[in-house]
Amino acid sequence: MLPISKMQQTYLSQIRRHRYRIILIRLFLILAFLFLWELSAQLHWIDSFIFSSPSRVCTMLWKMCQDYSLFYHTGITLAETLVSFFLTILLGLGCSVLLWYQQSVSEVLEPYLVILNSLPKSALAPLLIVWLGANTKTIIVAGISVAIFGTILNLYTSFLEMDPEKIKLIYTLNGTRKDALFKVVIPGTIPLFISILKVNIGLCLVGVIIGEFIGSRMGLGYLIIYGSQTFQLTLVITSIVILCLISLCLYLLLAAAEKTYQKRTVR
């Protein structure tokens, strides 16, 4: 390897310093927020009964850890989210492949998909409860309903955006439409597919929480509703904090998957 020149060294250290500064400011923001929140609760600037406080949230977390309810409710919500996420992937992939295969079907269905996609899915939740009952099935369906239409539309669009010359290549090699799908269209859209997944996991979580709001006796969505109805706002805020952590973890997981894929393809 060539020795690094002085200018390059300064440049690299500048980049590094910039990155540290960003991380530091981020940390500072959250700590300052927590500090101010705690301070104003202690000094009674705000009513800690309504606004709670970091220390109350921590106590609540500790209590929930001890009686295992934290793991129980978080686990339920997480499991429901993951199940609806995987079903969304399967269904979405299946439907968009079907639309790509039979483009007259997609011409017919397009307006309906657009309407269903822009429909606020929380409006469907009461119906789902009545149709499917107040159970886990309903919640998973609610999760799927939020993410599925966007998935189909986005995937199908990215299928269509595949370079037509690459598809022509398959035909010049005497391939069929099926070959074009499996050799070009699907492998070529994997990067976009992963970014669609990153959006989807959040949407599934939204759907699951909506479902739990109205049709469940367990999960974080239930805790939020229960807490607000019994005026235990610390419980509500604690659940929201856990939700934040869950969505962060899920996102990071997919970002890691994306990175692994990129490394494998580019090397």
Binding site: D163, T172, L173, N174, R267
Partner: protein
């Protein structure tokens, strides 16, 4: 002896809601086995359409295209088609790219694989067989695309401006490479190009087309008085300039 490719009174037009575009009008010519034919013509005159028709990607509206005396649909796999860009798939390595055709046609038998490996060796790509297309130079990519086409052992090769995406220097050397490979493998080829020098340097005969709808303006036999013909050497042949001027006049 029957010609390898025979085109009789071929006509084709494109249809769109805005109207009809006549691309080819009553085109007839023959290609003998082992010949290298170049097709030149004004840009947009329907040269690529001609190749798409010969390859069977488009169906003729009128006229016939016969390969060894039978309609092309019967012998589709006897035709290899090289597109303008190499179209190597970025998510596959070079080896997976050159075997794409075999994979699609379920012909991954040891004999065919052996042939591919030999071609990769002969044409300097064996060391790069595990590399991604982005790690190769333009010329190497084009050679990989050629091996992908030759892997299916076509009787007739269609080349649609295969060098147009390359810079001038690479273009001349890749053209030399590919010409020698095709001659060595004893392939019949139809090359579409807008580069007159390129056409003269490789072709045994040149088809000069009219502007749209394309028909044949003239067919010119190229006879160069040089001992061992390669595209690069051809450019130094005394007749080269005369042919160039002749075709130039036909086109303008």
């Amino acid at each position: 002896m029957k010609p390898l490719l025979e085109i009789r009174h071929l006509s084709y037009s494109y249809h769109s809601a805005a109207g009809e575009t006549y691309a080819l009008a009553d085109l007839s010519f023959q290609v003998e086995k082992g010949e290298f034919i170049a097709v030149v013509g004004p840009s947009g005159c329907g040269k690529s359409t001609l190749l798409s028709l010969i390859s069977g990607l488009l169906i003729p509206e009128q006229g016939e295209i016969l390969l060894s005396g039978a309609p092309v649909a019967v012998h589709k796999s006897a035709i290899g088609y090289m597109l303008q860009k190499d179209q190597l798939l970025e998510w596959r390595n070079i080896y997976q790219n050159v075997t794409l055709g075999l994979e699609i046609q379920h012909k991954m038998q040891p004999g065919n694989i052996q042939k591919i490996n030999q071609m990769l060796l002969d044409y300097g790509l064996f060391a790069f067989r595990n590399a991604k297309p982005s790690q190769l130079s333009g010329g190497m990519r084009q050679r990989a695309a050629l091996i992908r086409t030759l892997a299916l052992d076509p009787d007739l090769l269609l080349l649609d401006e295969p060098f147009s995406a390359l810079d001038y220097l690479t273009r001349i050397s890749v053209c030399d490479d590919i010409y020698c490979i095709l001659k060595k493998e004893k392939k019949t080829a139809v090359l579409v190009t807008h580069d007159l020098s390129e056409a003269i340097s490789v072709a045994d005969r040149i088809l000069v087309l009219t502007s749209r709808p394309a028909s044949i303006r003239r067919i010119i036999d190229i006879k160069l008085n040089i001992p061992e013909r390669t595209p690069l050497a051809s450019r130094n042949a005394p007749e080269f300039k005369n042919y160039f001027n002749q075709i130039w006049k036909e086109l303008t």
